[in-house]
Symmetry: C2
Amino acid sequence: MAELFFDSVWLRPPSRKRTGQPTLDRDQIVRAAMELLDADGPAGLSMRRLGTRLGAGATSLYWHVANKDDLLELAIDEVLGEIYVPEPGDTGWRIALSVMANGMRSAILRHPWVIGLLGTKPTLGPNAMRMGERSVALLTAAGFTGMEVSHVSAMIHAHALGSATTEAAVATATKRAGRTFAEMADELEPILERLSADNPRYDTWRKENVVIAEPEKMWHDSFVFGLERLLDGLEAWLAAGKPA
Amino acid sequence: MAELFFDSVWLRPPSRKRTGQPTLDRDQIVRAAMELLDADGPAGLSMRRLGTRLGAGATSLYWHVANKDDLLELAIDEVLGEIYVPEPGDTGWRIALSVMANGMRSAILRHPWVIGLLGTKPTLGPNAMRMGERSVALLTAAGFTGMEVSHVSAMIHAHALGSATTEAAVATATKRAGRTFAEMADELEPILERLSADNPRYDTWRKENVVIAEPEKMWHDSFVFGLERLLDGLEAWLAAGKPA
DNA sequence: CGAATCACTCGAACAGCGTACGAGGGAAGC
DNA sequence: GCTTCCCTCGTACGCTGTTCGAGTGATTCG
């Protein structure tokens, strides 16, 4: 194995053998780590906590996983594995992209801790590759060519990730405070009111559009609106024979 | 001050007085923190390191800043402060949104550590508010109404953040490895080759479109392509009188 | 069948982290 | 001159990721 320029679980050979009686194993470690992350966010995962949860010593984990970074990389790919990407024949490309985007958004919202990890190193795991394979198939079948394929793929990723990030920020804040969205909004109201002089146009818009009734629906609406406009733009681009 | 449901620097009164000789001060702490973050990422910022850099004891910082979380919140808003959002009269809405999106992308790429922070709590700082104010002005002037305003704003944010995230992931990985993009690509090549059987369609696409020549340009092209398609979609929506 | 090998577990220890606390200094106001 | 208040900081606590080396028990080999 040649010397590697940068480090990643995926670029190392898998652990060599598999014998003996039931002990710790990589998959179960990753699963447990995800449970901790889902429950308490990044701060909820420590090697010691993970160890005791598995009925093992903290340092035993290091036999199966090189370090915490590797473990997180494995967890990221596991999240990507939850995203379904249709095959080209299944539906039209518009619906297919919509399915992929929705799946991505849901997966990120189920595991919001990935957001902070996606910006730190490229995803190279098997599930990431599978997504790449499917995306290429989907988009070439749709009529995109050359670098357009990766551009469009990046657009969808960006929309899903970006939308989920804003939503996750509010969700984690309310969860941490142990309150509902409506309570948070009520709490925030007087503070925004006090700032209204500095932000007059935002303030009037806000007062005409307060919709704290169904926050989940609001986030979803926002996501869908953006996705549809984005797909409209892509459709127009294809229809116009890629003008620019 | 009433009991607060969730915690944020912006919801607390500012420190009360300002006397005496030149000592530590909040702005300079935040600036120094950003320098550490820019240089070495999230891991580069510790209270002790920040203290010594400012020629002070680590715990002195706690007089000016409640805790590390607060400090990060202040830093986030400082990043948002670097983003220029045009006033409605300045140009057409399409160009204005383009300026905002580009500014946002650049700011995030200058300070990629924000990516991991944006998903953790809502941004409430003065610069965030200023962006909100300007965005609303811009979009209402463009003809968007009601919740469309926030939807469109969210779209732009999502695109800038999402694009920057992917780019930052590769950038930090190459930086950490101390190599160039081209070297990383060469390194990765044989590994991708080995996986080609599992991802045939991705592989053929990849081989027909290898463009490692100017990575910076590639990222920017990708960002611009997506932004233009997205603005096309919005323009069509406005032109069609908001069909759905 | 005994010995050697190998996969695996784990306690102890180290350096570093965020931060609570309380003692202290030194200018400002009475 | 004394009190008050802003501000600094050394110490200490409990936590973190990770290294190291000793230990265990099943498998394999001679």
